[in-house]
């Protein structure tokens, strides 16, 4: 086991000192994740570290509730998330959303406060709803704005905000003493909540976006593992290439001349490929978590899936090493395998969109099973939900490893 570890560790170090390999193992999948994420709008969601959502606000309300909402939108807590611009003209606000200059527009109508808060005589004006115009091209950004406004309105309808405003007005006018606040404020809140009619205080435009936004699927949760798995196949190709390079450079013969068995040498080389794959996936996942704030799901499930995906891909690497004769052959066949598996396994488009034959072939690739696992995990799946993909990936790795050993033995016998 010590020799297996030593060979594997050595291969890991050698590969991680190869700048060209590092570019393809780490920089390329990250760059593609960013590129595809931008194309698919994967960066327009809060989960992905979105900042400064452009927003236009028109406050025509003369009362305190409109002012309360504009204060909330400029709150310190939301400073980095929102970038509100205040206008006077609702048409101009609407135009900015249409021209994609803003993720959403909030129109607070005249008489909004009067429709909620009773005047000195206890009368309440006609209800007026806040209008929220969402930009369908920025589903996640506009959904964030909608959730903030909805939260404010909900508090309003529950009587919380209204009570605060009424109490502060009564205190300011001298009609209530500060000592009376603990007793009077809850009573006013209950009274206001009782006044709340079925009338909604918020109206949302752009129905499509509004319907999709709350449950919006972050495309990065698919793109990032898809790219990581695509380039995992590159890494296992490099592992296969390293075995043939060792043959060419004489280090394989030197290994075989040492008191190290053939199976230790082959096992060590594949263990090195496996380790490199694990390291690559772990680095990519850490990077996307840190840079894009992507949530991959349960760490335990993630670890199990990384190990299984690397094992499945390493099995293909073993077969590649067994059937090729030179490092350049590995380069060309490995690249073809990487791309075909990427296409078949869903790294470029969802397998479900393809014909039945493609869907059947997809199951031969570690990309497919890995993606099944990673997407299930990102959707809140547990270790139990991952059991299928994990079992298939380990079985794939083991079966292909055994097949490769048979081919190696046959080749060794032919060589004499």
């Amino acid at each position: 086991m010590r020799k297996l570890w030593a060979i594997g560790r050595k291969d890991l170090i050698v590969l991680f000192r190869d700048r060209a390999a590092l570019i393809l193992m780490l920089a390329a999948p990250l760059a593609l994740t960013v590129g595809l994420g931008l194309v698919t709008g994967g960066f327009s969601g809060g989960q992905t570290g979105l900042r400064d959502i452009p927003l236009v606000v028109v406050n025509l309300d003369q009362g305190p509730l409109g002012a309360g909402l504009t204060d909330l939108l400029q709150d310190d807590d939301l400073q980095s998330l929102l970038e509100p611009a205040f206008l006077d003209d609702p048409a101009e606000a609407r135009r900015q959303v249409e021209e994609d200059a803003a993720a959403a527009a909030i129109l607070i109508p005249q008489g909004f406060s009067a429709g909620v808060l009773p005047d000195a005589g206890g009368a309440v004006g006609p209800p007026a709803a806040i209008e929220l115009i969402q930009n369908p091209g920025r589903p996640t950004g506009s959904a964030i704005v909608a959730s903030i406004v909805s939260g404010y309105v909900l508090r309003l309808q529950a009587g919380e905000v209204g009570a605060q405003v009424v109490v502060s007005q009564l205190v300011a006018s001298g009609r209530m003493l500060r000592q009376q606040i603990p007793v009077e404020a809850p009573a006013i809140g209950r009274r206001l909540a009782g006044n709340a009619s079925n009338f909604s205080l918020i109206q949302i435009e752009s129905d499509v976006a509004a319907a999709e936004a709350p449950a919006s699927f972050n495309p990065l949760a698919y793109i990032a593992p898809a790219m990581a798995l695509l380039f995992l196949m590159y890494t296992v190709g490099m592992g296969a290439r390293s075995l043939l390079l060792e043959h060419e450079q004489g280090t394989l013969a030197r290994l075989r001349a040492s008191p190290t068995s053939e199976s230790q040498v082959l096992g060590g080389k594949l263990f090195g490929t496996f380790l490199t794959g694990v390291a690559q996936l772990a680095i990519l996942i850490t990077a996307t978590t840190l840079f894009f704030r992507l949530e991959w799901g349960s760490p335990l499930g993630l670890a199990a899936l990384i190990l299984a995906a690397s094992a499945g891909a390493t099995g293909w690497g073993a077969v590649l090493a067994a059937v090729t004769r030179s490092p350049s052959q590995v380069g060309s066949i490995g690249a073809a395998l990487m791309l075909s598996f990427g296409i078949l396994g869903g790294s470029f488009f969802s397998v479900e969109l393809g014909p039945p034959l493609l869907q059947a072939l997809a199951r031969l690739t570690p990309n497919y099973w890995g993606l099944q696992g990673f997407t299930a995990l990102a959707s809140g799946g547990t270790l139990a939900d991952l059991a299928g993909p994990i079992a298939v990936l380990w079985f794939m790795g083991l079966a292909l490893f055994l097949a490769a050993v048979l081919v190696f033995r046959r080749r060794g016998a032919a060589r004499g």
Binding site: K10, I13, Q249, R254, S258, T260, R415, G416
Partner: protein, 316 residues
């Protein structure tokens, strides 16, 4: 006392090859001996070492190292051996120390023992100051020295060195030859292959001359040079580099010439007495219209032995 290496009628035939690469080779190497296999490129030296290192299975015959058969106990053989391959077999992106650590582990070393032996090996080949640098930054000579250090790291009782001085500068070559001598003085048995006769002459207690897979002569330097009867070698450099075949025939007919051959624009002659033969040789060249650009005379050596045994120069 049993021999350290005992090779018995060893044959290695590659599938599809018209003739065996090693053809019935037998020899013994005693403990503490430096034994050289001398022969031109393609003679079968490296294949013999590959079989003795258990990298290739013999077609027939057997070889034993320290009493362990390469056929039945390859692991026993491998544990006794240090192997220095012809090509530099190192991991270039790793440092010298990392390479030695890795190879030490392949020989079962570890912990403080490995650390100490790595330091010793680096001292032995003069690379301690450069131990932390990647091997890819080393010169060819430094790589060769490290290549040797890897083979010696685990203190083997026997070391196989396959043409370790090919393609390196004279200074590194000198350093390697001195290392071999030092190792032998410390009691190590060395099986050395080369096509440089000077190296075989300088290092070896005994020499086996190999050609076309067959061991054609075996003995000490004195025993081998006696084979050619103390004959001298005359080498004539011919202007224009074309040697007419008629000239070679004419030279062979001269009474003072034992053998004559043409190689690379030169004529090689084996003669009992160079001083006596030279005048007739020069006259024969003149008679065939050949202009001589230079003459060199050599005392009996392994080159003459090989020429005597095969009719060809060793370097071919």
């Amino acid at each position: 006392m049993p021999a350290m290496i005992e090779v018995s009628d060893l044959v290695k035939r590659y599938p599809g090859a018209p003739s065996p690469a090693v053809d019935g080779v037998s020899f013994r190497v005693e403990q503490g001996e430096v034994f050289s296999l001398l022969g031109p490129n393609g003679a079968g030296k490296t294949t013999t070492l590959a079989v003795l290192s258990c990298l290739l299975a013999p077609t027939t015959g057997d070889a034993r190292v320290g009493g362990h058969s390469v056929r039945t106990d390859p692991m026993g053989v491998k544990r006794l051996l240090g192997v220095v391959p012809q090509e530099v077999a190192l991991y270039l992106p790793l440092t010298a120390a990392e390479n030695l650590n890795f190879w030490g582990k392949m020989y079962g070393l570890g912990g403080a023992d490995l650390k100490q032996r790595v330091a010793e090996a680096l001292d032995q080949v003069g690379l301690r100051d450069r131990a932390g640098e990647r091997v890819e930054t080393y010169s060819g000579g430094m790589r060769r020295r490290l290549n040797i250090a890897v083979g010696l790291l685990h203190h083997p009782s026997t070391v196989f060195m396959d043409e370790p001085t090919v393609g390196i500068d004279p200074q590194s070559r000198r350093s390697i030859l001195d290392t071999v001598k030092t190792l032998n003085q410390q009691g190590m048995t060395v099986l050395y292959t080369t096509h440089y006769m000077e190296e075989a002459q300088e290092l070896s207690h005994r020499i086996g001359v190999i050609d076309h897979g067959k061991l054609i002569a075996l003995g000490t330097l004195d025993e081998l040079t006696r084979l050619v009867g103390q004959e001298d070698v005359i080498e004539l450099k011919i202007a224009g580099e074309h040697v007419p075949s008629e000239l070679i025939e004419a030279l062979r007919r001269l009474p003072d010439v034992s053998q004559a051959s043409a190689e690379d624009g030169a004529v090689r002659l084996l003669v009992p007495d160079a001083n006596r033969a030279l005048a007739d040789v020069v006259a024969a060249a003149g008679a065939h219209g050949v202009r001589i650009a230079g003459v060199a005379v050599q005392e009996p050596n392994l080159e003459a032995v090989f020429l005597h045994l095969t009719g060809r120069a060793l370097r071919d």
